[in-house]
Amino acid sequence: MSLPIAPKPALRRFHQARWDEPVIFELTTPGERGVLVSRPEPGVREAVGDVVADLPAGMRREKPAALPEMGQMRVLRHYLRLSQENLGADFNIDVGQGTCTMKYAPKVNETLISTPKLTELHPLQDQGDVQGILEIMWSLERAVAEISGMHSVSLHTSGGSTAIWTNIAMIRAYHEANGEGEQRDEVITTIFSHPSNAATAKAAGYKVITLYPDADGYPDAEALRAVIGPRTAAIMITNPEDTGIFNPRVKEWVDLAHSVGALASYDQANANGILGITRARDAGFDVCHFNLHKTFGTPHGCGGPGSGANAVSEALAPFLPGPVIVRDGDRFALDSDRPQSIGKVAPFYGVAPNLVRAYAWIMALGAEGIKAVAETAVLNNNYLMKKILEIPGASAPYATGRRRIEQVRYSWQELFEETGISSEEIGIRASDFGMHYWTSHHPYVVPQPFTLEPTESYSMAELDEYAAVLAEVAREARETPEVVRTAPHNQTVHHTHHDDLDDPERWAITWRAYQRKYFS
């Protein structure tokens, strides 16, 4: 063959890196060293003697920890190889982690945070030495307040769910402060609100009432009316819900809550489509949270650290975790003198690198840009929905014919009925094309679910590519189902057997447990 090169086929011929690396313990070589540590100086040794030999009886570790012994480059190589076996959002069209808002985490923000002036800042330094970061945090609080319409903001938590915990912890403290702590022992949520709303409320001691949507998939205000009452501490809802459907009667929900003395808590992790469009406080919510690692462009780090932002009305402000940042002219200070505060929710003041990233993200876009984020996210979502619904076997249950906000919970139920191929299998096969989606959307109220949230970050061409892959896999499900069932084929590893993972006799959660269970 000679030039020119033939046109590329419709679908990418992908193969993920496969290094077939052993588990790191198998790479050990006695005597190798990965990094050397500063050792006590002769003067120190002389002064203190042999501190290890002098340890009290029983306090000296008998056998060295059975960590691997490896040269530095081999450790590096091992982990670099593993990294290539991981599909970060920078690499794939990461629209398949619906509700998780995988957007571009701008590289410039990585540059900004990589200064020792942040990495090596101690939280208890002289406040005069930390004015820069305090100003950034304060400014970020103010921006979140404006975006939510709320009065005060805390940035302390390192994830969305712990921010939701903080919401309920503040609600609990509020009712207690009003002498209604005992009386209000119920929290109402909806099935398409993120599970952490239910789970944190339960952990805080509440009975959880979960409402199901009406026939059109809209949150059911009549159902709410039926259960809400003097025992209600709060409604805790996501909006748009995990279906991408916005509750048009959300204000009515909030008003209902208030009418019985309950508070309204808004899980705003799904805010990406409504930034600058509508605000939590304007609908009357008392408290809400955002995931900075979703909506505000901080990276997800394989599952954290994220960053939660809790925003509250003036009435709830005294309950925010402490300390808070206060501004006095050009100076910023930490104020811990807050008697009604729920106290600490995290060691210090939040995930500083993520706070700087989120701040930089906002400052790169401004009001106009942030609104464009929302508008582009919904445009992308409705565009992708059109593409997906063209695939035979795919559907978007509920609110048929209506637009969605930033994501859609789809269903492969039709395809499943026709072919027996499950949504999970389709997702796995999609990975053979360098894409994938996540299917943990329990309980499967939507059968054979998959949730796509294209955010603002992906180009039209990429959305087309993603839809084309799903169409191809759906075709395979009909025409060559074995290919799908035995997938993945172009991946780092092959079809994995999960039975051992649920059996205490057989599971192996660490290498040492594995060795003990199977080789001793």
């Binding site: 002036k117 208890l124 789970a199 048009p248 959660i509």
Partner: protein
């Protein structure tokens, strides 16, 4: 410039693309997509935010300018600890966690995210070796949360409410734990003696209502608990569990609590390969034995080994996913969400680099330098240690005999570029020493402290006490 708003982060703001996409879905404008949002809830003005820096170079100048106003512990001599520690982070650790593949990934399957599963399984396994325990979770948010959850696990397992707090706990940690568990557990604090647990008092308090005895080692003041075995026995005698909150940094030389009867060991891994990050880089571990009663109470994800269709291929998956709130909402164990996976990967790389010898060397260096600092400071007339316990990395010095407040010491030394520690009482200063603070640094601290004390001595003729205070 009447160019349309096209932003590098928003490819589909390119006018032709946007028009094509709108046409494809049959919408006249993006407004149509918001049909479900009532007019009354629509914000009718632009957000009131500062003018942006859309040119990347301008953004950099702005943010660099702000961060440039910070003065870091690299520019100061720092003995600050109290939860966040100044340990060395090997460059390879940062290289790995800054890899785009890890940094920007989230929740893929064990196929396309094999690397993440393996890295976190290895983290679990490496921690397990350091702790001599068989099960370690994918990190939760921080050591505060890990401890709160560990105590809650004990409560759920036993159906009891009592928790005996046997050690001095960092007040902020106590605050977090208390608010987290208070609906389900009652915390009873037994004052320590000479820095560590009053074993007899603790044992005397343990009853059939006790869910757990909670020990911290090193404690708030850096004291290493040497009576874990007795405390475990006391717990076990009443059917309770021993929860040990700890910092794993010392277990290259110290006996891990599991070897002394601990049932749940938990804490923070910031010391293992994470920068200080203004206190923003914490991650919590919970370690238990391979006992399903314990394991099934853990809320976090647990990655386990699995076979694949290809012999010799190392596969992974979620162990007992049904425990989680992902699977069962409020019927799961507490909840699981985005927590601190990347920091776990970092700690794994750190332990792999350090190896057994590195951790042993580190432990020895910490013990030696801590002791050295204790000796140097307590040799200053008027300065005393508050206890004679074994200390790892932190200890408290008392200036009361010199009639100098801890705040005065802090203020004076800060003016010399030294952060001498955290004032934890009127006269008490919590000093942290790590492998980053060498002999010269400690000597400099001691000299500076001696000057402060001497200066006050001249001002105030009260006698000084060179003995260790509680000796």
């Amino acid at each position: 410039m009447t160019q349309p708003f096209v932003h590098p982060y928003l490819p589909n703001t390119a006018p032709d693309v946007k028009a094509a996409m709108l046409a494809a879905v049959g919408a006249a404008s993006t407004d149509e997509f918001y049909a479900d949002i009532p007019e009354g809830l629509r914000l009718d003005r632009p957000l009131d935010l500062p003018a942006p820096f859309v040119a990347e170079q301008d953004l950099v100048r702005h943010v660099d300018g702000l961060l440039g106003r910070n003065v870091s512990t690299r520019e100061r001599l720092s003995f600050l600890g109290a939860g966040t520690y100044n340990h060395y982070v090997p460059a390879v650790v940062d290289e790995v966690i800054n890899r785009s593949e890890f940094l920007t990934a989230y929740a893929g399957e064990p196929y396309e995210d094999h690397g993440r599963f393996q890295a976190l399984f290895q983290y679990q396994s490496l921690m397990a070796e350091l702790l001599n325990m068989d099960v370690v979770n994918v990190p939760t948010y921080d050591g505060f949360q890990a401890t709160a959850t560990s105590l809650s696990m004990a409560g759920r397992m036993s159906g009891r409410r009592g928790v005996i707090v046997a050690s001095d706990v960092l007040p902020d940690k106590f605050s977090r734990v208390h608010d987290f568990v208070r609906t389900n557990l009652d915390l009873t604090v037994v004052p320590t003696v000479n820095g560590t647990a009053d074993v007899a008092a603790v044992a005397a308090l343990a009853t059939e209502q006790t869910a757990a005895i909670w020990v911290e080692t090193p404690s708030y003041s850096g004291a290493v608990e040497t009576a874990i075995r007795q405390l475990a026995d006391a717990a076990h005698a009443v059917g309770a569990v021993l929860v040990v909150g700890t910092d794993p940094v010392g277990y290259g030389v110290l006996t891990p609590p599991a070897d002394q009867g601990a049932d749940i060991v938990c804490g923070d891994i910031q010391s293992l390969g994470l920068h200080q990050w203004f206190g923003g880089a914490h991650a919590g571990f919970i370690a238990v034995h391979d006992d399903p009663r314990f394991v099934m109470e853990m809320p976090s994800r647990l990655f386990g080994l699995a076979t694949t269709d290809v012999p010799g291929e190392v596969g992974f998956g979620d162990v007992a996913y049904d425990r989680t709130s992902f699977a069962h909402r409020e019927d799961g164990k507490e909840w699981v969400g985005t927590a601190a996976a990347l920091w776990g990967i970092a700690a794994g790389v750190y332990l792999a680099l350090m190896g057994p010898q590195g951790m042993a060397d580190l432990g020895e260096t910490l013990l030696a330098r801590t002791r050295y600092a204790q000796l140097q400071l307590s040799a200053i007339p008027g300065v005393a240690l508050t206890d004679t316990a074994l200390h790892l990395r932190e200890f408290v010095v008392d200036f009361s005999a010199a009639s100098v407040t801890a705040h005065a010491v802090v203020d004076t030394l800060r003016a010399q570029g030294i952060e001498p520690g955290v004032a934890v009482g009127e006269y008490e200063l919590l000093v942290a020493v790590t492998e980053m603070t060498g002999q010269g640094d400690i000597d400099r601290l001691a000299d500076a402290v001696a000057s402060v004390v001497a200066a006050s001595d001249t001002a105030d003729t009260s006698t000084s006490n060179t003995e260790e205070k509680s000796a």
